[in-house]
């Protein structure tokens, strides 16, 4: 433990410094109460000053703003990458950037499967396993899947086979396979740190629950994605998937929320299913993840897990700023927008 501490302490201390630049709750309240111009001015006084200066004065589209905010996220990750010891760099990249790369793959697959075109502008500027140009060259789903197989996306390839064999193919099967590949790559890292293991496992388990809910809502069999689900949820007993298969969604949620990983989700998820307010599902799961990150941050003050919790908080901040900006752009009242944010008193 001490040797690990020595190795990563410098980066952890730097991350403590970087964390101070995250937007605080009272700044969020000011941002919420401002007009769109004031919002940009207020952001100019934060860590986002450089990216805001670049886009200020132009008639801003939501996607332009999102890209600017994402470029700040990339800057932050690059900074971590720069200060990280060599053995941690690839894990930071995979954890922080890999999730956006798999999002790119999902977007591309959705487009190709339905004979649509997608532009570079609609993808995250992330090139971890392959460049965006390489991805955009594919016009056929089969050739893209073969390419992914060569790059080690084994579950995506299996998901594609299941998708093809299915009488009513659902694109979510492939998306679930892509998620399984992403978390499988993370699980393959020899992580001994408990805090970091908790962060990755929590996210992976929440993703498992997400796909359970999606497949249950679509009334599709969970057994066909059993292999991917086993990757996403390594900590639960394997028969929990059979329980999910056999019980109704509300029964399943009441069972699952007794398991420590999913505790605290029962109210929001229950409400989402009862009132068909499915936007709450993603909100509840991400809220749980970010709360877990804050918890890990507090309990592992000088620990490598602090860095990964910080990455999650950067992502949370990016989502929050996007939500405020787009919410203001489409004239949502600030009280509405506030409901959609991931805010914590402990930040």
């Amino acid at each position: 433990m001490v040797s690990i501490m020595d190795k990563y302490t410098y980066l952890v201390i730097r991350t403590h410094g970087l964390k101070l630049r995250l937007i605080k709750r009272d700044t969020y309240i000011k941002l919420l109460g401002s007009t769109l111009d004031e919002f940009l001015n207020l952001l100019s006084n934060t860590d986002y000053s450089d990216v805001i200066e670049r886009i200020k004065g132009r008639k801003l589209k939501a996607s332009t703003f999102s890209k600017a905010i994402f470029s700040k996220y990339l800057q932050r990750i690059n900074k971590l990458h720069y200060y990280a010891p060599k053995d941690l760099r690839s894990l930071i990249d995979l954890y922080a950037l890999g999730r956006y790369e798999v999002e790119n793959i999902k977007r591309l697959i959705r487009a190709i499967a339905f004979k649509e075109r997608i532009s570079e502008n609609e993808l995250h500027p992330v090139s971890l396993h392959f460049s965006i140009d390489e991805l955009l060259n594919f016009l056929e789903l089969e050739s893209l899947i073969s390419f992914l197989e060569e790059k080690g996306f084994e579950y995506t390839t299996r998901a594609y086979e299941i998708y093809n064999d299915n009488e009513n193919p659902f694109i979510g099967i492939i998306e679930c396979g892509i998620d399984a590949d992403y978390f499988n790559m993370l699980h393959q890292y020899p992580i001994r740190n408990n805090g970091l293991r908790t962060i990755i496992d929590t996210e992976s388990n929440l993703r498992w629950l997400y796909w359970c809910i999606i497949f249950k809502l679509k009334e599709l069999s969970l057994s066909m994605i059993q292999d991917f689900m086993n990757v996403l949820n390594r900590n639960l007993k394997k028969n929990i998937l059979h329980v999910a298969e056999r019980s109704s969604l509300s029964d399943f949620l009441s069972i699952i929320t007794h398991i420590p990983y999913y505790r605290g989700l029962e109210d929001l998820l229950g409400k989402a299913i009862r009132e068909h307010d499915y936007a709450l599902i993603e909100y509840a799961l991400l809220h749980k993840l970010y709360s877990e990150a804050i918890k890990v941050m507090k309990s592992n003050f000088v620990d490598v897990s602090f860095i990964f919790a910080y990455i999650l908080l950067c992502e949370m901040e990016m989502k929050n700023l996007d939500t405020i900006f787009i919410g203001k752009k489409v004239d949502l009242p600030s009280t509405y927008i506030q409901r959609l944010l991931y805010l914590s008193e402990q930040l």
Partner: protein
């Protein structure tokens, strides 16, 4: 009609004019019946069109929820999920309603939302399509009401013209011809009497 003025004031002309008046009156009655039918149909359609207000209210509420999702997951994700939706195919065909050309909307391809893997986007897409489907139908009915109203306005113009112009003119012409015939028969009668008197005087 004015050409009749130059027709000879004969019994034949009078018969012809009376026949024409009868025809015009019958035509006017038929048009009035048609107008009543059209008005009834417009009222039926209007009661359905009134649902539009309710639909617009629902659409407004849905729009607010769409804005929330749009703000939460962002425009790029929304357009990515939208790519998985098969496009609807809508055909507008015109059919005859009491002889009036009115549009009807046929949904040849209803969009398939089942591929959307985001539950909230899926739910909203379903609700939005159901509202849009009803709005398309109501729009077709509004167009039908417009066509029927145009037809009603035309019928009203014709009925008014028959009532205020054609029929009074015909009646006037009939009176005129009747008068002329009466005058001519009177002068014929007088002429005959005078001829008879002349013949009697010659005999004496």
């Amino acid at each position: 009609m004015s050409s009749l003025r130059y027709l000879p004031a004969t019994t034949g002309t009078l018969v012809k004019l009376r026949e024409r008046l009868q025809l015009v009156r019958r035509g006017k009655e038929v048009l009035e019946m048609r107008r009543d039918q059209l008005i009834k149909e417009v009222y039926n359609l209007l009661s359905e069109i009134r649902k539009r207000e309710e639909l617009e209210k629902e659409l407004y509420q849905l729009y607010e929820r769409i804005k929330e999702i749009y703000a939460t997951i962002g425009p790029d994700n929304i357009s990515s999920y939208a790519r998985t939706i098969s496009k609807p195919k809508i055909r507008v065909i015109y059919e005859s309603l009491f002889g009036v050309r009115v549009p009807r909307v046929d949904f040849l391809n209803v969009p398939d939302f089942t591929q959307i893997s985001h539950p909230a986007v899926y739910q909203l897409a379903l609700e939005l399509w159901s509202l849009m489907e009803n709005l398309f139908k109501i729009a077709a009915k509004e167009m039908a009401v417009e066509s029927l109203s145009n037809e009603l306005a035309y019928i009203n113009r014709v009925v008014n013209s028959l009532e205020k112009n054609v029929i009074p003119q015909l009646i006037e012409q009939i009176h005129y011809v009747e008068e002329r015939i009466r005058e001519e028969s009177l002068s014929e009668f007088v002429r005959i009497k005078k001829v008879r008197d002349v013949i009697q005087k010659r005999r004496e």
